[in-house]
């Protein structure tokens, strides 16, 4: 790992990123097409709207909901949503008035990213990783979710290759809403468990 001894300053992350990209593309490890495909997946495919469809279907189709809770990975595959090979298991955590679920990854920042979307910055920050597992109710309150004292909090730490998503409570006043209308109420935050689904307007 010999270093270039005549250089003095640490290159900026953007320069370091360009260097490794150039090294890998010049060797054919990554092609321009590979890169474009993966950037497209992150920008256009792995979006919270996918998970929102799953949630809305679970709210309206009790048989799908049962399948989803029994085996998340095969149920979301019905909607054309695949998980990467190393995401072996998708466990869907159903919120109720008695139990509120919230997910995190204290050791790194694992998530079911192909279902609920790539995680936002705060999910990956040291603050969330350190605090939510120990001071769950306090952190949720700071983030705007004040849970009733009688609701039990369950925190799920993604330390193995099981992935989690939260199935939030269906908002009141949405009895006659269509699946696609309902999906508009499902935010990424609500599938992480740091918020409820949006209220019906």
């Amino acid at each position: 790992m010999e270093s270039n001894s005549d250089l003095k300053a640490v290159a900026a992350p953007v320069e370091r990123a360009a260097a490794i990209e150039m090294a890998l593309t010049s060797r054919g490890v990554a092609t321009v097409e590979d890169l474009a495909e993966r950037v497209h997946l992150a920008d256009e495919v792995w979006l919270p709207e996918r998970g929102a469809r799953v949630v809305a279907k679970a709210w309206t189709d009790p048989v799908f909901r049962t399948r989803l809770l029994a085996n998340g990975k095969s149920a979301v595959a019905e909607l054309g949503i695949e998980l990467p090979a190393h995401h072996r298991h998708l466990v869907v955590l159903e919120n109720s008035h008695e139990v509120h679920n919230v997910i995190c990854c204290t050791l790194c920042s694992c998530t079911a990213l192909t279902v609920i979307g790539l995680p936002p910055d705060w999910y990956k920050d040291l603050e969330y990783r350190a605090r939510v597992v120990r001071d769950s109710r306090t952190v949720l309150r700071e983030m705007g979710l004040d849970l009733p004292a009688e609701t039990q909090v369950r925190v799920w730490d993604t330390t193995a290759d099981t992935r989690y998503m939260v199935l939030p409570l269906r908002p009141a006043g949405t009895d006659h809403w269509s699946e696609s209308q309902l999906a508009t109420l499902v935010t990424q935050d609500s599938m992480i468990g740091v918020a409820r689904a949006l209220e019906a307007k």
Binding site: M1, E2, S3, N4, V10, A11, P13, V14, E15, R16, A18, A19, I20, E21, M22, A23, L24, R27, V29, A30, D34, L35, R38, V39, H86, R88, V91, T106, L107, C108, G117, L118, P119, P120, W122, D125, L126, E127, Y128, R129, A130, R131, V133, R134, D135, S136, R137, T138, V139, E142, M143, Q152, V153, R154, V155, D157, T159, A160, D161, T162
Partner: protein, 205 residues
């Protein structure tokens, strides 16, 4: 490895930076690095456990102060150098400056030989386990008692996978702990679920 990455339950941190400004990516290079590491995994240059461990091996101050995608970038570059894809000197020439990599890889380990298997409902104790290489045991559950809620299919054993050591796949157990078992009264009341590899557990006697 008892590193600074093992953040669960650590105190002294401020508010979560949640809000309307939340973003997945903050600039184009972050997207491209996120793509590149995934391509390298798909090409078989390294596996996900090696990738995670190379992040953990970052110099502690660098780890603490780097952004998420700077950690990704450092792991990717470190592994490409260690695997002989590129030299450190070439990366620094291309970057036009120093390119800090993660610290050297130590030795891994294989599965615990005398491990038991468990069923939902079983009470278990997390071993008082200290592993200098890669391990997916957050220190906050070490030595603690919990209950098995579910069992997953066998996965590759990370303590071995991150080091190129041969090992058997192991189930992971969804183990439920009460927050007061983990942190006495210095925690909010909650149930904490952790995915725990079989080698990390022992029967509660």
């Amino acid at each position: 490895m008892d590193g600074v990455h093992d953040l669960g339950g650590k105190q002294g941190f401020g508010a979560v930076g949640h809000g309307p400004q939340a973003k997945v990516f903050h600039s184009d290079w972050e997207k491209r690095i996120n793509a590149l590491y995934a391509i390298a995994v798909r090409q078989g240059i390294f596996n996900m456990d090696e990738y995670r461990h190379a992040i953990e091996r970052m110099e502690p101050r660098h780890y603490m102060c780097a952004s998420y995608y700077e950690r990704t970038l450092t792991s990717l570059a470190t592994l490409c150098v260690e695997k002989g894809v590129v030299t450190h000197a070439e990366l620094e020439t291309l970057a036009g400056g120093l390119f800090p990599l993660a610290r050297a890889l130590g030795t891994g380990r294989t599965n615990v030989p005398n491990r038991s298997s468990y069923n939902p409902g079983d009470w278990v104790r997390v071993r008082d386990l200290y592993v200098s290489g890669h391990v997916r045991l957050p220190s906050y559950i070490r030595g603690k008692v919990g209950r098995v809620i579910a069992v997953s299919p066998p996965y590759p054993f990370p303590d071995a996978q991150a080091h190129g050591v041969q090992a058997q796949d192991e189930p992971t157990y969804d183990v439920q702990f009460h927050s007061h078992e983990l942190w006495s009264d210095a925690a909010d009341d909650a149930l904490v679920h952790v995915g725990v590899f079989e080698s990390y557990l022992e029967p509660l006697t």
